[in-house]
Amino acid sequence: MKITRSIALLSQRPLIIMLLGFISVLILLPQASYAMPISTEVPDLQVSWNNSLRYNWGMRMQERNPLIANNALYDQGDALVNRYGTITNRLDWLSELDLSFHERYGLRVTAAAWYDAAYDPHSHSNPNALGAGAAPVSYLNGEFTSAVQRYANGPYAELLDAFVFGSFEIGPAVSNVKLGRHALVWGESLFGSAHAVSYSQVPSDGIKAISNPGASAKETALPLNQLSLLSQINPTVSLVAQLGFEWRPNRLPEGGTYFGADGVNEGPNVNRLAALEGGGGDLGLGLNWRPVWLDGMLGIYGRHFDDKGGWLAQVADGGQTRAVYARDIGLLGVTLSKNIGGTSVGAELSHRSNDPLVSDSAASAGAANGYAGARGDTWHGLINSVTSFGSSPVCQSSVLSAEFTWSRLDRVTHNPELYRAQGYLPACDSDPTLRGCADKEFMSLALSFVPTWLQVYPGVDLEMPLFFAKNFKGNAPSNGGGNEGVTTFKIGLTAKVYARHQFDLAYTGYDQKIEPAADSIFGSRILGAPYKDKGWLSFTYQVAF
């Protein structure tokens, strides 16, 4: 079902002038109240239309790292922009229409549109990159394909939410039902879902998530067609359920773009066969229990779903590759959430069966077995906290969030000869971690600290968001579960003006394990996405109206 469509948004040249004009008009306008409710003649019918406009500008701040720039697997994305070059100059528009009747039944439709003036369609690469013959190419006839152009350039628009909802009473139970395209995230995870109960519950827009600061989960959690239910049986017990009708994959930065690895995914289908996709029958059932003695919530969840992230380059026939999305993953999880001494604490433990594992890049299970990789049972856990602090000598208030994530292989159940790990694959005999081979155990930590200063100038609140995340132990056994050493840090300054304008300036940097490798045709080994030289400065302006 293709419901996205291209619309003409803005011509390229006057973009900045228009934007500056728009910002100044909005800021200078006398502040009235928000004018979204649309009056209707129908009693008890409420219609509201909210819009947010976001401008992003980004500049590369680092020189190329030769270990990335000279590796043909990553040279094209690295060649795209020089240090101090503009990586994004982009306008995003999110529009939300909400309609409700008697506050019980309603409809919600949202759409996002974007245009990036910094997009350069022409091919870039390092002519001296090592292993060029063995590496995928990100271009067709020296240019990006239309798929890349759609996400990285536009103008383009897509429908996001599109669902109807209702609240019903059946006996003593009160149920909230949603039908149509909407996103659903269960469990307690704070930063990412790779090891959460909500793993692959919604596809994520990884392109917006990494390259579009300010994009909220309203845009990065891609909604799916589904029926969902939250039914309160009594004040302490609720049931949640989900039945999916649609499957969509995660979006990843496309090959040849600033944040992409060359050649992967939807974009350039050079020498690639069509993906073997998931289906639309995701099922989920959960129980929320809030007993008085616990003063918190225990959740129990069972899910059966198809992967939204895939083995992206499975070897197929004739030396070609294809993305393969694993079907029929099972998940059982328990969660706990509780306010402990003023801190909101969340914890999850889940077990997945038939989980796609990190697999051999040089082989697959072949046509008869759907070109699959190895699969197995895995354990996943996380514990997180959110704490609010009041006034201190440094700032007026602050919020500290932290999350520790853990995962461990239980057992390999299918295609063990394809499991990329020591003891399974000879290629993992030495330096297994640096070679991207799975370790038995994986651990990761993420920290966010946001100090706030209110009314620093009339009508202006300041925040300084600080973020640090590091995978500090092992490569996760699960495919896409994370690589040791991958680190992201961000330091920003945010000004919130008159409660509706927001300006952000941020530096985002990355670290990872990276080493020269004389025995590799690519000349280097890079663990994780090639971001060590991709540190960048971003400026974001957003306004809601």
């Binding site: 003063d295 959430s337 801190t343 209110l454």
Partner: protein, 461 residues
Amino acid sequence: MKYLSLAILLSLFLTGTIWVNSTQAGISASEARQLGDSLTSFGAEKAGNRAGTIPAYTGGLSVNDLPPDFQKGSGIWTNPFPNEKPLYSISSRNLAEHASKLSEASKALLRLYPSYRMDIYPSHRSVAYPAWVLNNTLKNATSARLTKEGLTLEGAVGGIPFPIPKNGNEVMWNHMLAYNGYPAEYLGRNWYVDKTGRAINTGELKCSLQSDYYTFHWGADELKKKGNSFFKAAYHFTAPPNAAGNAAYSVDTLDPVEQPRRSWSYSAATRRIRIAPDYTYDTPIASQGGITTYDEGYLSLGRLDLFDFKLLGKREMYIPYNNYRLVFQSRAAQILTPNHLSPDFVRWELHRVWVVEATRKPGKKHTISRRIFYFDEDWSGAGMSDAYSRNDQLSKGMFIAQTPLYDAQMPLARCYFAYDLLDNRYTLIQHFGDPGLGYKLKPEGFQPLTFTPDALPNRGR
């Protein structure tokens, strides 16, 4: 948590720091006989003052006092005294003459802004209570008691807990437990005005309010068994656009030591309900321009453990009273003038108030070192406070605008405003005067399972 709090309590008990302050239940029966005699059933002085400027209490506005332009069910209560003119005005010029009846913040505002003025109207003791609240109040008089160093209330339900208060903590609880428009649903807007005079709408909220303490006619023991809650607020943002669709729910209980405030939030983006960390004490509220802190909802909300509350007695003071025009019959654009609310819309009256001095306990941390509270003797929820910051400098004044709901025989004091006297900004919370806004009583109560975390998706989207 249970074990942790148990351990803490146990250690406090062992070190003898707790229970020592537990008072005898209520007042003596003979003292209680003043209620309904020289005092009203809720403990106010029945008689007026000698000067005749405060009238005797005669039962408040009755259901026969409906103004002609009042429409029942409209969510708007119109002014029952539309033809009254101010008796006189107080400005910086005649401040000295009235100084003894002005709060420190009122004096500071008069001195700060030449355009600031207080129009004094005839005093009307407009508050009325239904019979069952008065009956409960009489019972509470001899049974209510504070335990755990005044932090926890026991033995009271469905009425004013301490009609004849003996200490500061009892007065604070009387205010927090004012019979204040429950159960109800409102749509209101929050604003602040920065020091350049720009009015900023920080939110439009649809809120459902319930007090189990006042709603279900449970006994005190049954209330305790069923969660001991006196304030439940479930709300969702309808504006600003970046918050619209998000929802939250919070519960306050009579025993904030054992059952501290719990809050949950619902995100419209992920449709996820999460338990919130505590936002308490001196954490400033961004949506109120950073002027107020999380323990200052309706002047005071939350655990009383950081301050010592000393009852200073009763005084005659000018406080905002019967502010129907300000709360219900004004557009935000009319009243949100630079530096202060338009004096044309704020009605002040002379009333007797209980005065409590709250001093930060030694060793405790809070940006405010001292507060003086002034609460209406008729427990209408009306009142005001002066706040002093760390170097004992007057930094803030807060005021509640009360508007008794004459048709329902119920006080209402939800709208409040606060002035930052050091940074020249102010905030107005829960204003219902713009078109489409209003406060609607729900005498029939709410659907079952409205006040639960899992009901939040029914509110948001």
